[in-house]
């Protein structure tokens, strides 16, 4: 079997196309097009496709969120007197350090994009009409972008001396 030989034009091999069939040179069996055959018109490889990226992102961000969110809850609600210690001074103290700024920034972005993409999936799965789906997603995207931008703005421009 050499590599440069091409497929026989009729897909019928000597075994299947043996004696007794009505097909012949003048009466070939109908061509069965492979469904979704790749042609010049079909888009190029969909590798790096959005749905795949979204799926991967959910898992990767989930792993990071385990650390960020559980750590966050532990610090805010359990350690050092629990929830009663949280106040302006506590937040101001923590955001004085770039470490906690980056922690909170990362948590904000990852949780919002993770939650936003999760809700996008839920909407895709449950919305029945295209218009409902479209507007629900617009609402979701607006809320996500607004929250992410507002949160980022606060983390970067936080002024501990505000009165």
């Amino acid at each position: 079997m050499s590599a440069d030989t091409t497929t026989a034009t009729s897909g019928i091999g000597p075994v299947e196309g043996g004696a007794g069939t009505a097909y012949g040179v003048d009466n070939p069996a109908p061509v069965i097009e492979a469904p979704r055959k790749r042609t010049a018109k079909t888009p190029r490889s969909t590798r790096g496709n959005f749905e795949m990226a979204a799926w991967l992102f959910m898992r990767l961000s989930g792993i990071v969120l385990v650390v960020l969110v559980l750590g966050h809850l532990l610090i805010q609600l359990v350690l050092d007197g629990g929830v009663s210690k949280i106040g302006f001074a506590f937040v101001a103290g923590r955001w004085a350090s770039p470490f906690w700024q980056i922690w909170d920034l990362l948590m904000l972005w990852l949780a919002m994009l993770h939650g936003g993409n999760g809700l996008r999936t839920v909407i895709n799965d449950y919305a029945e009409r295209d218009t409902t789906r479209f507007w629900l997603k617009m609402l979701l995207y607006t809320a996500t972008v607004f929250t992410v931008l507002l949160g980022t703005l606060v983390i970067f421009t936080f002024d501990p001396n505000i009165r």
Binding site: P35, R47, W55, D125
Partner: protein, 252 residues
Amino acid sequence: MATPVLDKVEAESAASPYITVTFRVRRFNPEVSAEATWEDFQLEIDPKERVLDGLHKIKWELDGTLTFRRSCAHGICGSDAMRINGRNRLACKTLIKDINPEKPITIEPIKGLTVLKDLVVDMEPFFQAYRDVMPFLVTTGNEPTRERLQSPEDRERFDDTTKCILCAACTSSCPVFWNDGQYFGPAAIVNAHRFIFDSRDEAGEQRLEILNDKDGVWRCRTTFNCTDACPRGIEVTKAIQEVKRALITRRF
């Protein structure tokens, strides 16, 4: 006076294996009503018989208009998948004694496909998804004169997914498929898996691209309904995950 009769009945029922079961069947006839309704049938049946035998009894002795598909009656052709007591099963592989015959046994068409009549659904969308993954061997080059050889290990790689009988129990148990019917569904992915992981096949890449679609494998929510529903015991969810992994690593 009544005693001898009673005795006789008791003696008879002790000897007879038959019990009385209620089949609660979801009936739909578009020529009569747009609504589907439940209809109860009482039948005397040996609990070691199958739900399909009960349906035959109804059709042949009680109500000839009851409509359902079956062909082989032995779990091979995949015609008679239906929702029995809320779970997708083959009527021909479900014994009555195994599904609590004390209570009425509910029988409905599989979900997510258009009901045509009683238990018969339109399978076209299901088979369209199946055709879309190109469920046939694709090769290049000359045909070998004898069979295409494969090592036992290579054959083992996709053995599980060769068992599919296309009954649609898995696809019609999937909540993502119920939503809009656009998702390829577990059965199509299982049949793509059967060729993607076949060392003799050369269109694995193409099939992966097809399943990388926005209605392809990424819509799977890993609910395991499909694995639970499969009458052939195929690990459907696992097959779907293997396709996802192959898409990400491009190794198969």
